[in-house]
Symmetry: C2
Subunit: 447 residues, 2 copies
Amino acid sequence: MTSMKTSIPVSESVSSVDMEIGSSWTDSNTSISSTNSYEAMVKVIQTKPRFHSIKDAIHNKILNLRAEGRVDERSFYICDIGEIRRQLNLWKSELPFIKPYYAVKCNPNEEFIKNMISIEPEMGFDCASLAEIETILRINGFINRDNLIYANPIKPISQLRYANNNDVNLTTIDSIEEVEKIANFTDGKMKVLIRIQTDDSSATCPLSVKFGANLQYSEKIVEKCIQLGVQIRGVAFHVGSGFKDSNTLVKAVDDSYKLIEIIEKNQGNKCDIIDVGGGFSKESFKESAKILRQEMEFKFGKSISNGEIKVISELGRFLSASCFTLVSNVIGTREEIGGGKTRVYLNDGLYGNLNCILYDHQEVEPIVITSNGEYVYQESKSNDKKLYSIWGPTCDGLDCISKRVELNYDIKCGDFIGFENCGAYTNAAATKFNGFTNEFDYEFIES
Amino acid sequence: MTSMKTSIPVSESVSSVDMEIGSSWTDSNTSISSTNSYEAMVKVIQTKPRFHSIKDAIHNKILNLRAEGRVDERSFYICDIGEIRRQLNLWKSELPFIKPYYAVKCNPNEEFIKNMISIEPEMGFDCASLAEIETILRINGFINRDNLIYANPIKPISQLRYANNNDVNLTTIDSIEEVEKIANFTDGKMKVLIRIQTDDSSATCPLSVKFGANLQYSEKIVEKCIQLGVQIRGVAFHVGSGFKDSNTLVKAVDDSYKLIEIIEKNQGNKCDIIDVGGGFSKESFKESAKILRQEMEFKFGKSISNGEIKVISELGRFLSASCFTLVSNVIGTREEIGGGKTRVYLNDGLYGNLNCILYDHQEVEPIVITSNGEYVYQESKSNDKKLYSIWGPTCDGLDCISKRVELNYDIKCGDFIGFENCGAYTNAAATKFNGFTNEFDYEFIES
């Protein structure tokens, strides 16, 4: 590692950036072994006929559901593959030297993942469990194993062994006990990143309360790794999902630098990976990216430029949230006596896709898709305003999507309500509570 | 309906109560059509060899899991059938004139339901959806349809039709719009109970925020039912899951009485069902039962005694909570540097069975099952005390089961931690978040 500041080129044009940084992940170095399998998959994915606007796709889906008499059976999603492409390009334009590993936990829909691979053959994947590794290996068994990280600091022994047996040999740790586990239950090929604690008090979903070692404890982990022969490849951090204070990134990069110095001093082997985690949202991305880029340049510029250090990220929300629009059906309404709000009951709610309201602290905005059966999505709004409360289908009083929302249309049983930006931490944790389904329809479009 | 107070006999001995109340649901009037199917099922259920203590069953299961190398794969439940029997007997001893309808949503495990039917052939079931009706009909397609209620005030049209097509023709409503739905989409056989609003502000899980009509609005519903020819069979209420103020029962019974007077005056047909809902917990049951019994005697005593009115309840938590002990495996630990708490990570958590902490506001108490591999469940405790925090297996910081708990044993990776009284609103809403399973092992015992 060389600490001297070296500027990392950044450009709007992805291809020119690729040319400048030798170690860039965007070089098209798809491993030969994976080519055939990958090409076959891409062929399937790309020959599917697709709509090019979300509006047309929703309309078509509703017409089909009506024809099949299935309007109230389950919610459906429109997934815009164009948005994956745009988000990946946005990432590359701002942080071309950081390779994205998609955090499968965020939205494990397999067709979504296949489409992602068809856009980005060398896409990396952050898996939190055996089942997530299995999913990726099922989609592409020939995947270059460097593109997989088992990024859960605490791993059940059986799942750790599964990863090791399947040549997924990079994982995160944050405890001495996990070093012992790796030493005892793997074949010596499993390498680690030490996950350090960050100040994520500004994040919507803080993680450091559960994961991460401070510098003092990290030194003990380094000691234990050396003692038991577990090789440390670098450092990982995560500033929390939906973080708001980008300065926490500066501290995390600085701490990573300090720990890497300690590791290299003690271990002999050089560190070659830094995992900068995730938590980026589309809205604040450019600002966060700038801060992260500057600090990485300042601390690790030369090591990155000369290919000594590979930088990876764990992107969930950033890649998936804006790709998905959720559409659910109105299964009942109730006019409040004496006026006031009208209650609207949907076939989806806090136990279904909108568990994100409870688990992920998301606020969702209902959008009228049909009004009295008429398709009004993205039409100029009427002047009428009505007050609504929006509810899920279960018998639980907690199952409330919105206590009070003003909408410009009349809503009746049979109408459809949509929610945009619903691709992160939604279907991933949907339940079957009250006997409602947790399987949904997915339509893929490309805008 | 006759309002004159008539005492309803109550006794510890269930059989003597059965003899005294002609209309008691505990009369063994199993319908002939269901007998064969039922007997076959009971034979299967009852010939299974069973342990008679939870302690032995957990120990045996752990030994088996160790032998199979599956300790960390998934949590398991021990379900004590004896406890279903005891809870049903407790119910009968306090409220023999109220027939329990098990709220399937609370714990839809099919073997649990089968065992319940084997104990109580004329058990009623409260279904919240098509899938729950399907479950009961799959278990016993010949079930007497009087033993089923589709107790969700807002029903998707397709599911309402399914119920109607399968002769499940009693449902709850709380809106004029639902009356129209029933009139438009069923064949005239669907009968209704009007669900009235209650004061459930003391409940752990209040429901009236979402469901229930006040008296004034109920009158409009009655009008609409008469206008559209939808027959009202009575009134339903629910004072909220885990209610604490039993006096809300008094008000609910009084309101039911008032509404039944209005219905009978306007409709011509007499009301013959009162659904007193659920929300009872084992701890406060006797007190709540006494208040409910007294008020029901006071308002409906004669109508119940002479069989004019059937009283039903929707029991979930009361029947299932104490039947289940959950056992999960320690997949990792982390000693805090410099002493303090030890973190314990389990293979189950807030996205698994312990979603009840978030959705159902439950507080769970971890119990040490094994310590350093040694089976210590229900042993005299050691004097050592250690501070722990207990966590689930996902990468989410929210996935914390207990921030601080003092336990008398040392806990290491591979040990087991249990949670008693875990049968209500647990497995029913478990997710697969992070790729962890939402399928669990169930062992049935009879203590």
